[in-house]
Symmetry: C2
Subunit: 130 residues, 2 copies
């Protein structure tokens, strides 16, 4: 069990976007070279972030990506779930049902981690880098 590299790229990309205060959007290319990924792969990752409304994309010349407006409170958890999905980390056999004790313990620990990730905002961390 590991977080995918895509999550890593997504988080770093978000930090980069957060630090560009200019209104102009940033091309995938500059982000890709910054993160050492191919542009095509990175655009796939960013597409997920767009789909979740965390990032805006504008096509055409001078196009690119930018942080969604009014989204200053985006947390780490938001980005992670946009990439990894919102499914639970642990799933028992459906025959056990919700009252499986193992399931309960695991879910409890998982929500604890999510709580931690939810209170960490992208902007706050981006500010530390700047």
């Amino acid at each position: 069990m590991k977080y995918s590299k895509a999550t890593n790229y997504a988080l770093h990309a978000m930090l980069s976007l957060a630090n560009k205060t200019e209104k102009t959007s940033i091309g995938v290319q500059s982000l890709a070279t910054e993160l050492s990924v191919s542009t095509t792969y990175l655009s796939k990752i960013l597409a997920k972030l767009v789909k979740e409304g965390l990032v805006l994309s504008s096509s055409g010349a001078q196009g690119g990506y930018s942080l969604a407006a009014n989204k200053n409170d985006v947390s780490f958890l938001d980005v992670i779930q946009a990439i990894e999905g919102k499914a639970s980390l642990f799933e028992c056999d459906p025959q056990h049902g919700e009252h499986c004790l193992v399931h309960q313990v695991m879910l409890e620990a998982e929500t604890e981690m999510e709580r931690q990730l939810k209170q960490k905002r992208i902007i706050d961390v981006a500010y530390q880098i700047k």
Copy 2:
């Protein structure tokens, strides 16, 4: 990112073993039918638990598996790490190094979850089932 089914099987197997107070070891077969897995696959999982010292195995006739003696304080984390490995869930590119802020945030959340899983002992949960 998800926990593997093997982890699920391992946890449930540990609970079953913890509930058999008898000194006699339990065969893989009875455990396997109980968990609805094949004996061969389950034995592979149990082998990892043996390797980590959480479980004892005795071969030959009347052989089987049993909880390791003096291991009443086995936690959920112990079992999970025996199966999934002890590597960190999140890994940045080595070029970022340890001082990558993303890395730090993720690690912080991860250790929080581990702390939670560490204080949950197998026996305590097994007792609730019994």
